[in-house]
């Protein structure tokens, strides 16, 4: 069994809102998220001993290919401390958190920053779309018309055929998430949409319609993590423990793609099962993807999902609230920032700070166990990098 050698807690989280910010640079986005997380933690920022910086496409979008974290964090007031750049496409954010947690668990540091920032909007949309398609084996995929919408549509087509999932189920999931997003001040889209509006929006690639899909976004998110030993001295708010942070890479042989393996490893690390989880954030770059994530995480069998969607099982006030933030399709998907935005949402939910979108766990209490599933890239038909992070308090 894999275990952290030392307990690690999240002291503070912060975001720059996700959306279209043509007048803001990656330095601006980074600085706002970093200082929101520091303010939230209440610590003196000079205590931060190292930083892990997640970004995916700054090289192609802005030309800043090298030393990204070093450049962007310098503008946030960080010099001298070790800065490590982390990249694993859309999973980069939670991969950066995982490295920050490991650095503390290894005993090297007591206070570490994990940051994710991404800028996808520029005046040239075609360039942004082409940059996104580089999160694959570009020799094999990008030149042949591959798009991430298509990868979700191809996976969903198989689930529909095998388990009876319908396009209406998908629209219900998207509508639920748009409603959640409408209550999230950091979300790119804060407009609730009905099942009909979603079903009748423009077809992108069947079964996906426009309002089921995430679009480009700019944004940033950050977390201040600290050793359990220092929590008593530093914590101003309820500390949230990182009980597990599993990472796997795509598998193309055997029965699964690695996502289920990542989940099992995380449950094992945390010493819990899926039945103990009270709030979930999953990676749904296209909202219906939420359903195959739920299935792979072991929350239900794939053939049960249609009924559970119809019963609002995954709604804000359902038995297992999924994507209370609105998920990627409503919150927006600045790819290197997404994972840490998931973590920020879980922390807010587990502290009882989520305002009108606050969920209730067992016994109508603030949730004590939260899970974030984040995945990125696409190799040989499966996600390249997959993380499952479990938080406890």
């Amino acid at each position: 069994m894999k275990k952290l050698a030392r307990e690690v807690c999240i002291l503070g989280v912060g975001m720059h809102p996700f959306g279209k910010f043509l007048d803001k640079s990656l330095k601006d986005l980074t600085r706002v998220a970093v200082w929101n997380s520091i303010r939230d933690s209440g610590i003196d920022a000079t205590l931060i001993e190292a930083a892990y910086f997640s970004n995916v496409l700054a090289g192609l979008i802005t030309g800043q290919e090298g030393v990204r974290g070093h450049v962007f964090l310098r503008d946030s007031g960080f010099q001298s401390i070790p800065i490590v750049n982390v990249e694993g496409a859309c999973a980069s954010g939670t991969m950066a958190l995982r490295e920050a947690v490991f650095a503390i668990a290894a005993g090297m540091y007591d206070v570490v920053l994990a940051v994710g920032a991404e800028k996808l909007y520029l005046d040239d949309t075609a360039r942004s779309i082409e940059a996104m398609a580089t999160n694959t084996d570009v020799e094999l995929m990008a030149g042949l018309g591959f798009q991430f919408t298509g990868s979700y549509a191809m996976a969903l087509r198989k689930y529909m055929k095998q388990y009876g999932w319908t396009q209406t189920h998908f629209a219900k999931v998207a509508s639920k998430n748009k409603k959640n997003g409408s209550m999230n001040p950091f979300a790119q889209y804060q407009k609730p949409l009905s099942v009909d509006e979603i079903l009748h929006s423009r077809l992108i690639c069947w079964p996906l319609t426009l309002y089921m899909c995430s679009t480009m976004a700019d944004g940033a998110a950050a977390a201040v993590v600290c050793s359990k030993d220092m929590v008593a001295k530093l914590a101003r708010k309820k500390p949230i423990s990182v009980a597990a942070c599993a990472l796997r890479s795509g598998e193309v042989t055997g029965e699964d793609d690695g996502q289920r393996r990542a989940a099992l490893e995380a449950y094992d690390m945390a010493g819990i099962g899926p039945e103990d989880v009270e709030v979930v954030e999953v990676h749904d770059a296209m909202a219906p993807g939420e359903l195959f994530r739920i299935e792979k995480l072991g929350f239900c069998k794939p053939e049960e999902i249609g009924v559970l969607v119809d019963e609002d099982f995954f709604a804000l006030n359902g038995k297992l609230p999924v994507n209370p933030s609105g998920g990627l399709a409503a919150r927006g998907h600045p790819i290197g920032a997404t994972g840490l935005a998931q973590i920020a949402e879980l922390v807010w939910q587990m502290r009882g700070e989520a305002g009108v979108r606050q969920v209730r766990g067992r016994h109508q209490m603030v949730p004590k166990v939260g899970l974030a599933q984040n995945s990125g890239g696409y190799v040989e038909g499966v996600s390249a990098a997959m993380t499952v992070t479990i938080l406890k308090c």
Binding site: G145, T253, G381
Partner: protein, 140 residues
């Protein structure tokens, strides 16, 4: 302006009408793992010198597909992308051709046949040649 392969060393285009095109892949002598494009090291065994080059992909079954209504530069919409499980067991991503770009024009599990043809043009007007699949038994 010329016909150029998308990348060298991935496929063979027949010289005559009677020959079938094929892809250049590999298979592990120990475990049977089959790959396109060819790999030097088996990702199942992770040992040296177990992979041997094979020809594959002339025929297969459609694993799944999507009809894209929005495309990147150089692609005329709608167009179809899909995965084909070749007779030899490799999973190959490819554009799908030889049928209408509609969801009811194809079925998962359908028999497919490899074609080598123009995928798109590059910035200089050269035709970039790559691999595609079409429904077997239907002539384009």
């Amino acid at each position: 302006m010329a016909d150029l392969p998308l990348k060298e060393g991935l496929f063979v285009q027949p010289k005559s009408e009677n020959e079938k095109p094929y892809l250049l892949g590999s298979r592990c002598r120990v475990c049977g793992y089959t790959s396109f494009p060819k790999k030097e090291i088996c990702i199942v065994c992770r040992k040296e010198a177990t992979m041997e080059n094979i020809q594959l992909g002339s025929y297969g079954k459609l694993d799944t597909f999507a009809v894209m209504q929005v495309g990147p530069p150089g692609f005329k919409v709608p167009y179809i992308i899909g995965y084909v499980r070749t007779q030899e067991g490799a999973l190959v991503f490819a554009p799908i051709t030889g049928c209408e770009a509609k969801d009811d024009a194809l079925g998962v599990g359908e028999e497919m046949e490899l074609v080598i043809e123009k995928v798109k043009q590059d910035g200089k007007g050269n035709n970039l040649i790559g691999w595609k699949y079409k429904p077997a038994g239907k002539r384009k």
